[in-house]
Chain length 466, copies 2
C-alpha cells in the first residue's frame, strides 16, 4: 500500500477510535465507586462522591463517580459509598519478623531489653523459617491495617522478600549488614555477599525493591559502611540505615570521630539520595542541612521513640528545611504494632506537644507523611503515594460507620484522629485485591496465627533465665 | 421453744447448710470461665485459666475455673477461653455529648478552636435533645470499647444521667457551674439550683453518682466555688473541676491571687477529698503536696493534653507522692475518641518519653490507673476497679486472636500496648451484660448513629461562617 493511502487508513483508524472512545466506555479490571476519594495529588483533591478506575496494575482514572462511569466500565465494581478511598499507607521503617517478639519484654531499660531479651532471642531463633513465619504474620497485620508498602531491615532478607511478594505487598527490603556475627552471616563481608546475591535475584521484581541495610554508624566500621554504599550504587538500590536514634549513639560516634553521626557519615562520603535514615532524633541544624543537601530521606517513628524513651525527632524543622520525610512503625517489639494510622496520630500528637502549638503537624500533613512523604523517602514517588492516573494501584478503602467515627465532619481529620487500622475494609496493591471486606485473600489467616504461636514457644524458651 | 433448744436447732441448720454448701454448688446468675483473669486485687492475681462468678449485681467469686466450677453453677455460662477478663475501665474525665463535635475543628490554636467552633456550636446546639443524642453515641462507643464507668461535666446533666442509666453504664456525672450564661442556666445561681434538684433525683441511684461540676478556678468567682463545695458536702457527692490544664490558666489565677490554681483553691478552702481535679498539668511540688494532703483525686488525660498542646502532667511525681490518680479521655472534641485503651497506651508512652526512661509507667501501672486508680479517684474503690468477691460486677472480656495481638507473651503488656477498644467482646456493668460478642444490648446502634448524624447537620450549620 502506497505511503499516502497507508497514512490515510491509519488516520481513519485513529479517528474511529477517538469517536469510539467518546462513545464507548473503556473496559477496565476494577472500579471503586461512590466513596470520598482522598487523592494526595498535586492539587490535594478530595472528591466527595468519587471513583478510581484500575486496569491491571495501574490506576487509569481518578475522578467523580459520574465522570468515571461515563468513561469506564469495570469487570469488577466495588461500591465504596460511605467509605473513604485513599492511597495505601507507606511504612518507611521496620523489622517485620520482630512481630514474633511483640510484647516479649516491655518497660525495660534499653540495654536490659536488648541484652536479656532481644539479642538472646535473635541469636537462638532467627532462621529462614522464623523470618518466613514472622513476615507472614507482619504481612497479615499490615494488609489488615492498610499498609501497602513496607520497609524492612533484617536477616535472610530474601526469605522476607519472597514472603512479601507471595502476600502481594510492596516492599523496600534491605539485607542487614552489622559487625557482629548474626544468624545469616558470620562477618560483614559474608553479609555483603548475601546482599549482592539477593539484590541480583529481586532487582527486577515489580513489587520488591531490594536494598542494602547497614545497621548504623556505631555498629559498622568505616570501610564496611562504604562497601554498603558502593553496593547500593552499583545496583542503584536504596541504602537503609539507623541514624541518631539515641543519645548514646551520638556519644559513641562523638568519642571516636568528634562528629555527630550525620556529620561523620558525611565525612566518610556515605550519603547518597538513595539513603533512608531511620529515626533521626538527635540531629542539630547542621545535620538537618546535610540531610537536605545530600537528598537523604528520613523515617520518623514516633511510637518507638516514645516507648523506648529515645527522644523527639525535630519534625517541624525537617519539614521547614524540605528534608524528605516519612513515617514508620519500627519493629513490633518496640511499638507494639504495625498500624500506620497510629503512627499518623502519634506524630500529630507528639509534635503539637513538643512545639506547644496545637496547629503543629495538622491531620493533612500527617496523612501526607504516611503516603506521598513515604513514597519520596523510598524513591517511589513516581509509582505510589497518591491516587493519580498512571501510578500503580496501591490503595485502601476505610469504613466510617463505627460509633467511634461518628459524626464525620472532615474525612482527613477522622482518618488521623479517630480511625484505626481495623477500620480498613479493602487493601489493594499493584491492582491486586489483597483484602476484601476484612477477608485477606493472599494469606491463610488461621495458619499464619497458628505458626506464629508455635514459633513463640521457641522464643519464650530462648529467653528463659537459665 | 426454750433458748437452749432454739440455739441447738439454729446450730443444726447452720451445720446442714455448711454441709450442703460443700456438696451443692451455689446457683448464680452468670459465670465467665476459661480466660485469663486479671483481678487488680491486693495481690494483683492473674489467673491463667480463671473464672468469675456473678450473682445479680455482684461478683461472688474470682478463682481458677476449676475452683469456681466446684462451688458455683451459672444460669448462664460464658466461655472466655483465649480471652482476657478484667475490670471494666474507669474514665475519670470527659464531656460525653461533645462526641457530636468530634473532628469538627482540629489543629487550631486553642482560642480559635473555642471561639470559632466550640463556643458557637455549644451556644446554638446544646439542648436536652442534643445531650441525649450525644450521650447515647458516647455510651455506645464506651460500651464498645470497654469503659464501664465514666465521669462527666456538662449541661442538662439529668438528661445525661437518665441516658447513661438506660444504657446501663455507671457514671459520676456532674452538672456544670460556670460564670457565663449557658444552655441550661442563665447564672451560676440557676445552675446551682439545677444541680441540687438533679442530685436529689439521682442520689440513691445504683448506677449514677450525681456530682457538682464547678468548671474551673478561672471561670468562677470565689463565692460560687464555695457554694459548689457546700452543695457537694451537703449531699456527700463528688466535686468535679478542671485544674491547671494550661499555662494560661495558671497566669490568670496568678495575676488575680498571686497563687497557683491549686494554692488558690486551697486558700479559699475549696478542697475536699471528694474533689476530682481534671488534668493537673501545671502543678509544682507544693501543689502536689496540697493535693495529697487534701485527698484530692487527679484525672490524667494524656491524649487531650497532647492534642491541645497543653503540656505534660507530672504523673511520676503524683505517683511518688501517693496522690490518687486515674486516667481520662476528656471530650471527643479534643482526643478524638473515648477509648480508654488508648489512654493507657498514651500515658505509658508519654511518661517514658518525658522521663527519658523506658521503665517509667510500665504496663501494669497504666492498667491500674485505668481501673483501681480511677475507682479511688471517684471514691468508688469499695464498689469497682477490681475483680473481687463482694464488689459490683463491672467487667469486660477482651479477645486476643487478631494478628495485631499475636503472639501473646504477657497479657497485661498486650492490653496496654497492642489492644484497642475494638477488641472488647463483652461488657458487663452491675451484673448486666451491656454488650455480648460486640452486639450492644441496651442501645439501638443504627438509630443512635442515625440520630447523631442528623444532629451533626445542626452543628455544622451552627459554626458556618456568616
Amino acid at each position: 500500500m502506497p505511503a499516502m493511502r497507508r497514512a490515510l487508513v491509519v488516520a481513519l483508524i485513529g479517528l474511529t477510535s477517538v469517536v469510539l472512545d467518546a462513545r464507548m466506555p473503556r473496559a477496565v479490571s476494577l472500579i471503586l465507586t461512590g466513596g470520598t476519594v482522598i487523592t494526595i495529588d498535586a492539587a490535594r483533591r478530595v472528591i466527595p462522591h468519587g471513583a478510581v478506575a484500575i486496569d491491571g496494575t495501574d490506576i487509569v482514572a481518578v475522578d467523580t463517580a459520574e465522570a468515571v462511569a461515563a468513561g469506564y466500565t469495570g469487570r469488577e465494581v466495588v461500591d465504596t459509598t460511605d467509605d473513604i478511598v485513599l492511597p495505601g499507607l507507606v511504612n518507611t521503617h521496620g523489622h517485620a519478623p520482630m512481630v514474633l517478639y511483640r510484647g516479649l519484654a516491655d518497660d525495660l531499660a534499653l540495654m536490659d531489653w536488648l541484652q536479656r531479651y532481644i539479642f538472646p532471642a535473635e541469636a537462638k531463633t532467627v532462621s529462614p523459617e522464623m523470618v518466613r513465619v514472622g513476615t507472614k504474620l507482619a504481612a497479615l497485620e499490615m494488609i489488615q491495617s492498610g499498609t501497602t508498602t513496607f520497609t524492612d531491615m533484617y536477616y535472610f532478607e530474601e526469605e522476607i522478600a519472597q514472603t512479601a511478594r507471595d502476600a502481594g505487598l510492596r516492599g523496600v527490603l534491605g539485607e542487614t549488614i552489622i559487625k557482629f556475627p548474626v544468624a545469616d552471616a558470620k562477618t560483614p563481608a559474608d553479609a555483603l555477599k548475601r546482599a549482592e546475591a539477593y539484590i541480583a535475584e529481586f532487582r527486577h521484581d515489580p513489587l520488591i525493591t531490594p536494598a542494602v541495610a547497614p545497621h548504623s554508624a556505631y555498629t559498622l566500621e568505616r570501610d564496611t559502611l562504604l562497601a554498603c554504599r558502593d553496593l547500593a550504587l552499583k545496583y542503584d538500590v536504596p541504602l537503609l540505615i539507623h541514624l541518631a536514634e539515641t543519645q548514646d549513639e551520638v556519644r559513641i560516634i562523638q568519642e571516636s570521630s568528634h562528629l555527630t553521626p550525620t556529620g561523620y557519615l558525611e565525612s566518610i562520603g556515605f550519603w547518597t539520595p538513595r539513603v533512608v535514615a531511620a529515626h533521626g532524633v538527635w540531629v542539630n541544624d547542621d545535620d538537618i542541612a546535610i540531610l537536605k543537601r545530600q537528598g537523604v530521606g528520613v523515617s520518623h517513628n514516633p511510637e518507638s521513640n516514645m516507648k523506648l524513651a529515645s527522644g523527639v525527632a525535630p519534625v517541624p524543622k525537617y519539614l521547614a528545611a524540605g528534608v524528605k520525610l516519612g513515617l514508620g512503625t519500627d519493629g513490633a517489639a518496640s511499638n507494639n504494632d504495625l498500624d500506620m494510622f497510629e503512627a499518623m496520630r502519634q506524630a500529630a500528637f507528639l509534635h503539637k506537644l513538643e512545639t506547644h502549638d496545637p496547629r503543629a503537624l495538622p491531620a493533612p500533613q500527617a496523612l501526607e507523611l504516611a503516603t506521598m512523604g513515604g513514597a519520596r523517602v523510598l524513591g517511589l514517588q513516581d509509582a505510589i503515594g497518591s491516587l493519580e492516573a498512571g501510578k500503580r494501584a496501591d490503595l485502601i478503602v476505610v469504613g466510617t460507620n463505627r460509633a467511634r467515627q461518628t459524626p464525620l465532619y472532615d474525612p482527613i481529620s477522622q482518618l488521623v484522629y479517630a480511625t484505626h487500622g481495623d477500620d480498613v475494609k479493602t487493601t489493594i496493591v499493584n491492582g491486586r485485591v489483597l483484602m476484601r471486606d476484612r477477608k485477606v485473600a493472599t494469606l491463610d489467616e488461621r495458619a499464619v496465627l497458628a505458626d506464629a504461636r508455635r514459633m513463640s514457644g521457641q522464643v519464650r524458651q530462648a529467653v528463659k533465665p537459665q
